[in-house]
Symmetry: C2
Subunit: 645 residues, 2 copies
């Protein structure tokens, strides 16, 4: 991590120096503001991920509200897939999660024993994260801890952002012809006992509803959840328990012959685990609340499913019973499809507010955070005057398609989980269908199947052969490199922070050592001084050269064969108030463990290439190193000309 650029400050470097004059700050101590740039409804994973991103921009005033009186302490989601871990890395707390969380390394599959169908037996085991699928593990950590890690990022950011607890969104009204804080949000002050108190209004430029499946924001913009009604009741329970079941510290999918299904999810700390227990099917007009299910019912069901094994519950930390719907809204913003050409969005929904699905694939928290990590940089681009507000249409376009894919996959998975085992599975002649499907789903459940369609921020993949392992529209796939200046072995992807900047990774072709005459040198010369260069066109005069577009170069040689002093100046830029040199832009291959990033990611060794990566870590474009005009054209589609900013 880089710090002290503008001078030494004592203390924890994760606590950023505060922005000068925090007058636009909206933290609780300062009361309720009259106007904000962004009002976020809901302190769940979607809301906090967005707030954590926006907290890094002192120019943007952000307010996040929640009806609760303080942060969550336990319960609900717990799965953090590898893609979310990669995002956590950009927020700076992946290491913390790796240390605290349970790691899902292997998943075990249990089925009825054909010789004795009322007893289950292990029928298979599957590696959860494929080799080199991500540098991150798949982890399980309570949502409450994830919230706290985002809250820490917010509080330590230059804006020192903190939630306004005890405020519930009651209504959202948009004045479409007004361009100055056109959204009026009516908020109820919620008292300690949960009853509504005084009402206040806040005017916002943008409102994001991360307020769950019963979202007030969604209703205010006329959004409706479409999809199947829920007729399957599940019990979920976090427990401390003893058991003779040998796989208690592995994620397990258990199908019993007649008692239904059970998922075991080991949890952080080495003792706690979660059970998802399939309860009886509900009648079409029945609700879970009619059933009067209690914790003992869930425990009894689990014991029936796990027979001959038993669990002896010592402490129920949290439990709940719910029915699952697969539902989706038409749009994730307030602009109907037929008005896209005429209006830009002012109100958005994210997470459960616009899509609901089963928790069984462990996707909820991940997809919710994915929504707002997609939206955050776009809002920042627009609010800081970098991009026109039309950019905001891409949020609903990109994320709704992903939610739709999620619901389809989830549907299929639910069907397979519920189907009775076939003969070929029971006699062991074939891999069980649920194991087969589980393995097939892994890229999806890891969050790595997300692929955005071509648009103004995702180019057509015409040059895909230059980097066959970095797919245009998918997330940039990290790999090991060595940083030239200090020979530090690291992950290239960890150069990216959740700071709203674009990145260009320039992979040098063979024999290019960065000296004059080579393609990297020519690219740098273009970016540094050509009037058409996006670095020159869109970076403001008072900003560091890499404030908007952060160029990094990777070379094929060993670090000893390269000379830092010979590198183009754009790769060693002078930054900050002292004009200090940035030493962290240049990398080379790290061959020590036989891991060559060119081979691992299918980079064209002869020609090299440029990979343009969005602020949310998605590959936007792949270009040859001399694709100057195409590069400039692409960024012309992203940013407004500087004189309009």
């Amino acid at each position: 991590m880089q710090y002290y650029l503008d001078g030494f400050t004592p203390g924890d470097p994760d606590v950023k120096p505060p922005a000068s004059g925090l007058d636009r700050n909206t933290s609780k101590a300062r009361g309720i503001p009259q106007e904000v740039d962004v009002l976020i409804a809901g302190c769940g994973p979607a809301g906090l991920c967005l707030a954590a991103q926006l907290a890094g921009f002192p120019q943007i005033s952000t307010m996040i509200v929640d009806p609760k009186q303080g942060p969550m302490e336990k319960g609900q989601a717990d799965g953090v897939n590898v893609r979310s871990m990669e995002m956590f890395q950009a927020f700076g707390f992946a290491e913390k999660v790796k240390r605290e969380a349970y790691w899902v390394n292997q998943t075990a599959f249990w089925k009825p024993n054909p010789a004795r169908p009322d007893h289950i037996q292990r029928v298979g085991i599957a590696q959860d994260v494929a080799d080199d699928q991500s540098e991150m593990p798949h982890t399980i950590l309570n949502q409450a801890r994830v919230h706290q890690l985002f809250l820490d990022v917010m509080k330590n950011a230059p804006t020192r952002l903190e939630p306004h607890y005890g405020l519930r969104v009651q209504n959202v009204a948009i004045e479409p012809d007004n361009s100055d804080h056109p959204v009026t949000v009516t908020l109820d002050k919620v008292t300690e006992d949960g009853s509504a108190g005084k009402t206040v209004t806040v005017r916002a430029n943008y409102v994001v509803g991360c307020d769950g499946a019963r979202s007030t924001v969604r209703r205010a913009i006329g959004g409706k959840l479409h999809g199947d009604a829920a007729h399957q009741a599940w019990g979920v329970m976090d427990i401390l328990a003893n058991s003779d079941f040998p796989d208690l510290r592995r994620k397990c999918l258990i199908q019993s012959a007649k008692e239904g299904n059970l998922l075991i999810i080991p949890r952080e700390g080495g003792f706690l685990f979660r059970m998802y227990v399939e309860l009886d099917k509900l009648n079409p007009d029945e609700r879970v609340s009619n059933r009067n299910i209690v914790a003992a019912d869930i425990i009894a069901a689990a014991n029936r499913i796990m027979s001959p094994y038993t669990i002896d519950v010592k402490e129920v930390v949290w439990w709940s019973v719910y029915e699952i719907g697969h539902r989706l809204t038409d749009k994730f913003d307030d602009v109907p499809a037929d008005q896209i050409a005429h209006r830009t969005p002012r109100v958005f929904t994210a997470g459960d507010a616009c899509h609901t699905h089963s928790p069984k694939a462990g996707q909820g928290m991940n997809v919710s955070m994915g929504d707002t990590f997609n939206l955050g940089w776009k809002l920042a681009h627009v609010l800081t005057g970098r991009s026109d507000p039309e950019l905001l249409h891409s949020y609903s376009a990109e994320r709704r398609l992903e939610a739709k894919r999620l619901i389809e996959t989830d549907h299929k998975w639910a069907r397979i989980m519920s189907a009775p085992p076939g003969q070929s599975e029971l006699d062991g002649s074939e891999m069980p269908r649920f194991q087969k499907q589980f393995i097939e789903n892994l890229e999806f459940t890891g969050g790595l199947a997300v692929r955005y369609e071509p648009s103004r921020i995702i180019a057509k993949a015409a040059q895909q052969p230059l980097a066959t392992g970095q797919i245009v529209g998918k997330r940039f796939h990290s790999a090991p490199v060595l940083r030239l200046a200090d020979a530090k072995p690291m992950q290239l992807g960890h150069a990216a922070e959740a700071d709203g900047r674009w990145r260009i990774y320039a992979f040098a072709g063979q024999d290019d050592d960065g000296t004059a005459g080579g393609a990297i040198h020519r690219l740098c010369a273009y970016l540094d001084s050509d009037p058409a260069s996006p670095v020159r066109r869109y970076t403001r005069a008072d900003e560091d050269l890499d404030a908007l577009i952060d160029l990094r170069a990777i070379f094929q040689q060993d670090f000893k064969a390269l000379n830092f002093g010979d590198m183009p100046s754009l790769l060693r830029p002078a930054k900050g108030r002292y004009g200090l040199r940035d030493f962290e832009k240049i990398f080379c291959t790290d061959l020590k463990l036989g891991q060559d990033i060119y081979t691992m990611r299918g980079i064209d060794r002869r020609r090299g290439c440029m990979i343009v990566v969005r602020p949310d870590q998605y590959v936007a474009h792949i270009l040859p190193l001399d694709g100057f005009a195409a590069l400039s054209n692409f960024f012309d589609g992203v940013f407004k000309p500087q004189d309009e900013q």
Copy 2:
């Protein structure tokens, strides 16, 4: 990390549940106590490392004082060698340091250019941490941050220990015939302006002087520093600066032809770096303070040495000029050599209070922490009634020898650094002497050459061939393994925490899969139920089975070939108030990256072995798996019989 054993508690798991009734707590809010078990003088690395260790024991009351009014903000030591990083891992903050700190990967060597001796040129580069020397990097991080990380451990420990700032030790008096708090410490209250205020006294069972080279505690027990006087002045400076010197982000040793020597130590954050500049030799009766050296003198000297390169200093964060002495006290405690048989120590010194040396090898902070990591568990053993007080003699015996080795190595290194370059070095026909010596020193400077002599807590190395890569008396060398229950890839050494417990790593022989009849099973049966078993003899009735001796087993097979349910019960102990099973005792080889712990550490594959490791991570004994009597005998030398405890 393991938590929630005794029930779920919300929040950060690094914040341990508070000890019940913190009445013996001595944190500042509670005023100055009249009596404590341990009084630590000085909040430097030695003092804080000891306090962090003792803070984990609610039975022990600890007080740590410092004349300053609050924690250090900058300056002084910054090198953290791999051994200290391994220790930080046991304290739980190695990952944090890895994230924040500069990593010393390669060190560059610069000499005069023979063709133009007033210009320096790079003559070599050396890998700083040899492959597989440690799983940790060598890092550089300001002492102030290291302090804070220890302070966090203390504050989050069950005792919620915090320093008493503004108290200076004025005198220490021992009543040798008293066994109840026999040490009376007189403390001056230091006011904000540094002047002494009111005096208070505290009675302690033990006092540890970590109060620096001018230690009051050392003087009170009649300790004198012996060694050579210092006639070499060095300037040290932390700066933000620009330079055309290409190796600014590598540790550099620079010898100029006529202007002296310079060390460059890049620092955390990517911009800051430290310079050690050799200034003129002092006359025998001259002190640095006579010279009136100012920051500009150091910068000018650095520029002369680095010619033709220059540095343009933008901010001087901290600087100092000092002279180096190599000095050592006769004993690190209050018991003269001729009285060891008759008295046990009550007062100790650690760190600079008992040994001083040059900062050039980056050892100061590391050796100081090493002192008190050695002392901490011994004090805990004695104060909790596990061991007799004679154990405390081993502190001075073990650490003084190490300090002596350090001073000898440092002497040799200083001579080589100061010697003018020879002809064979200048013409490049031979590796420069300082590079050769630097490489030779690496095991030492990494903190890995420490080897304690045989004693009651270090056995004779009769069975060394059973584990040729785990040397009796040296630190336990970690390697990758897979944890059986959850198939988590991890470092075996990271099973150890800084909690004062002993560990036995039992490596299974070929074909042993933990089932009945195998050597591991027999060992567990012995430890579990034999009257002579140290686990049975020394663990108290109200404690978990692993409270004192923590047994771990490692198998040669792949995790799929082993069955958790078949393992001996001692490897799956029921713990805590619920009797929950501990799943984290059993490991197997992790062959994915071709890293087999048996091969890497020279473990006898056929026979396997037991490796007994002390609470400070040093290998105390290596035994065959059936060496029951020898194992029991060894622990009989460490612990008191239970009826005497």
